[in-house]
């Protein structure tokens, strides 16, 4: 495959065509194309998917499908990419304690991985101290908290409290995302950002990474 055919790879992802994408990835690898170039093309595809979502042309189903496609491609490219993922930075991700929803978190995770973030996914129903422990252990400067339930999202404040108690609040940015997230939570819970849109969340995280 010639590098000018990378547009086809991107297009197969953007148009959510599983068979075509699978074939093109295999073809690209067998022709000796660098995996990072494949990933770059697909990253640009996820950006276009995000733009289509923002314009109301794509919906959650398309983000999920793109995430599934990216997961499959990444599993194929994994062994080639070990040294290269994480070039954008690290993030600790989890659904807050009391909340077991993970669809939103999975979407954000896929977007982050395909944007070259190294993601430490703590899963669902995560207690505040686990977020802090993982951030310290990995030297991560960003914590992403997912929350669908308005009854559980208040627990986000406990993550901020735990960071303060550990003396690392000023070193770590905290973003909360999900259907229950509201802008007023920045002030009330002491987080740095609160969004209910995965794409906006990704934009903020990227901005923080550049600022650092």
């Amino acid at each position: 495959m010639k590098s000018n055919n990378l547009g086809g790879l991107k297009q197969a992802l953007v148009e959510l065509e599983p068979t075509k994408l699978d074939e093109l990835v295999k073809e690209a690898l067998s022709s000796g194309l660098e995996p990072m170039k494949i990933l770059d093309a697909l990253r640009s595809g996820t950006e276009e998917i995000g733009q289509r979502f923002e314009k109301g042309e794509y919906f959650v189903s398309e983000l999920v499908m793109a995430g599934e496609l990216m997961k499959n491609v990444l599993s194929v490219l994994k062994r080639h990419l070990k040294a290269e993922t994480g070039s954008e930075g690290k993030i600790v991700l989890g659904t807050i304690i009391g909340d077991l929803h993970d669809i939103g978190k999975e979407i954000v995770k896929s977007l982050l991985i395909s944007s070259s973030f190294e993601v430490y996914d703590l899963g669902i129903d995560v207690p505040p101290e686990k977020f802090v422990e993982k951030a310290k252990e990995t030297g991560t400067k960003i914590i992403g908290i997912s929350a669908l339930l308005s009854t559980s999202i208040a627990n986000t404040a406990d993550v901020v409290k735990a960071l303060k108690e550990d003396g690392i609040r000023d070193k770590v940015k905290v973003i909360v995302g999900g259907a229950a997230a509201r802008p007023w939570m920045v002030e009330k819970y002491g987080v740095d950002a609160a969004v209910y849109d995965a794409i906006k969340g990704l934009e903020i995280i990227k901005k923080w990474t550049i600022e650092r």
């Binding site: 959510l16 599983p18 068979t19 109301g56 794509y58 919906f59 959650v60 189903s61 398309e62 999920v64 499908m65 995430g67 599934e68 304690i97 009391g98 909340d99 077991l100 929803h101 993970d102 669809i103 999975e106 669902i124 129903d125 339930l149 308005s150 009854t151 559980s152 259907a179 229950a180 209910y196 849109d197």
Partner: protein, 353 residues
């Protein structure tokens, strides 16, 4: 004018004596309803409905009639299984749960058996319908008609992938569901319900979960067949439920002869806009915020929201007020009382300008 006549008048887009009222007792957490019942000193849900002035009744979701304190939650980690074989794990809060076993990821569709209704299921429903028939507007419940039950069986991400990569499987699955729903729905209609409650959560907070193109490709045709079949069996209204924002498909629902749209969460869709655009063709049911007002608002906030909704959505009938979903456990019972008190006061026709 009795409650049934009141609802029928509103659904025909005419003004009854007041805006009809409904509850969401079976939908969410019982705590606020139990607290309201204690405050009003009633011992059964039927008495509670009478006290609050509820005009509609539901059949098909059996629950104990006697009001008891909410039972102790099962310990976190407990695995439960529903009639479809879907297994869920109880969360740390003992209230919510997460699906941990999707049968159709393990069993081929050809070998999968649909649940059989318990013998006597329709006997108890028939009794309830007879006892309510003259006075109340009765709804037969068939929520989770297609999508919600199917993705629980198959897994959300897996089923979304199926919509793109496995159309034959999706259509075969939907056809089996269609037959199952027609069989149950027909029985409801034959027993004399006024309305069939259909629906699936296709809406997220700001937009649809599933692309409207996919909804039109897979779900709309099956739902249309179901609605046509049910309307042929008897003179029933069709009620369609979806959480969240489903604005793109409202014209489709009207085209499919859906009569009532629920719950129109004001946090996701603007009820007055829906009324303005479609209010002459579809009735609005719900509309009072459970994410904000009923949960964290004051009784004054509830009063304001009820007044606003009636002012902007009740003109010419076509509005049934209820919480826009099940109440969260922390919702104060005072807000439940306030909702119905002010809806009865402000909802009298002719409306005050």
């Amino acid at each position: 004018m009795n409650p049934r006549e009141r609802v029928l008048r509103a659904l025909e887009h005419e003004e009854p004596d007041r805006v009809p009222l409904d509850d969401t007792i079976e939908w969410g957490h019982l705590h606020p309803w139990v607290a309201a019942a204690n405050h009003l000193e009633v011992k059964t849900y039927e008495k509670l409905r009478e006290k609050l002035g509820i005009d509609l009744r539901r059949v098909g979701w059996p629950m104990e009639e006697e009001i008891k304190p909410p039972v102790n939650p099962p310990p976190p980690g407990t695995i439960t299984q529903n009639e479809w074989g879907v297994k869920s794990e109880v969360a740390a809060d003992g209230v919510h749960s997460r699906i941990v076993y999707h049968p159709l990821q393990h069993i081929p569709l050809s070998e999968f058996e649909f649940p059989k209704l318990e013998s006597g299921y329709f006997d108890s429903i028939s009794k309830l319908i007879k006892s309510w028939r003259e006075k109340y507007f009765i709804q037969g419940i068939m929520y989770g008609t297609f999508f919600e039950t199917i993705w629980a069986l198959r897994g959300f991400n897996t089923f979304i992938s199926d919509l793109y990569a496995n159309p034959n499987f999706v259509n075969e699955l939907l056809d089996r569901f269609l037959k199952y729903r027609i069989d149950i729905g027909k029985r409801f209609v034959e027993l004399g319900v006024d309305c069939i409650q259909l629906g699936d959560d296709f809406g997220a907070q700001t937009g649809m979960l599933v692309h409207p193109r996919l909804w039109r490709k897979y779900f709309k045709p099956k739902m249309k067949i179901l609605i046509d079949k049910l309307k042929k069996v008897g003179d029933v209204y069709i009620w369609y439920h979806s959480d969240g924002n489903i604005e793109p498909i409202i014209p489709d629902l009207i085209e499919m002869e859906v009569n009532i749209l629920n719950p129109i969460q004001p946090d996701c869709m603007n009820p007055s806009k829906i009324k303005e655009c479609y209010g002459d063709r579809i009735a609005l049911h719900g509309t009072i915020s459970v994410q904000e007002t009923m949960q964290v608002g004051s009784t004054e906030d509830v009063k304001c929201e009820v007044a606003t909704r009636i002012r902007t959505c009740a003109l010419g009938g076509g509005l049934i007020i209820a919480p826009a979903h099940g109440l969260q456990p922390s919702s104060p019972f005072e807000n439940v009382i306030a909702l119905y008190k002010w809806a009865k006061k402000y909802g009298k026709y002719p409306l005050r300008t």
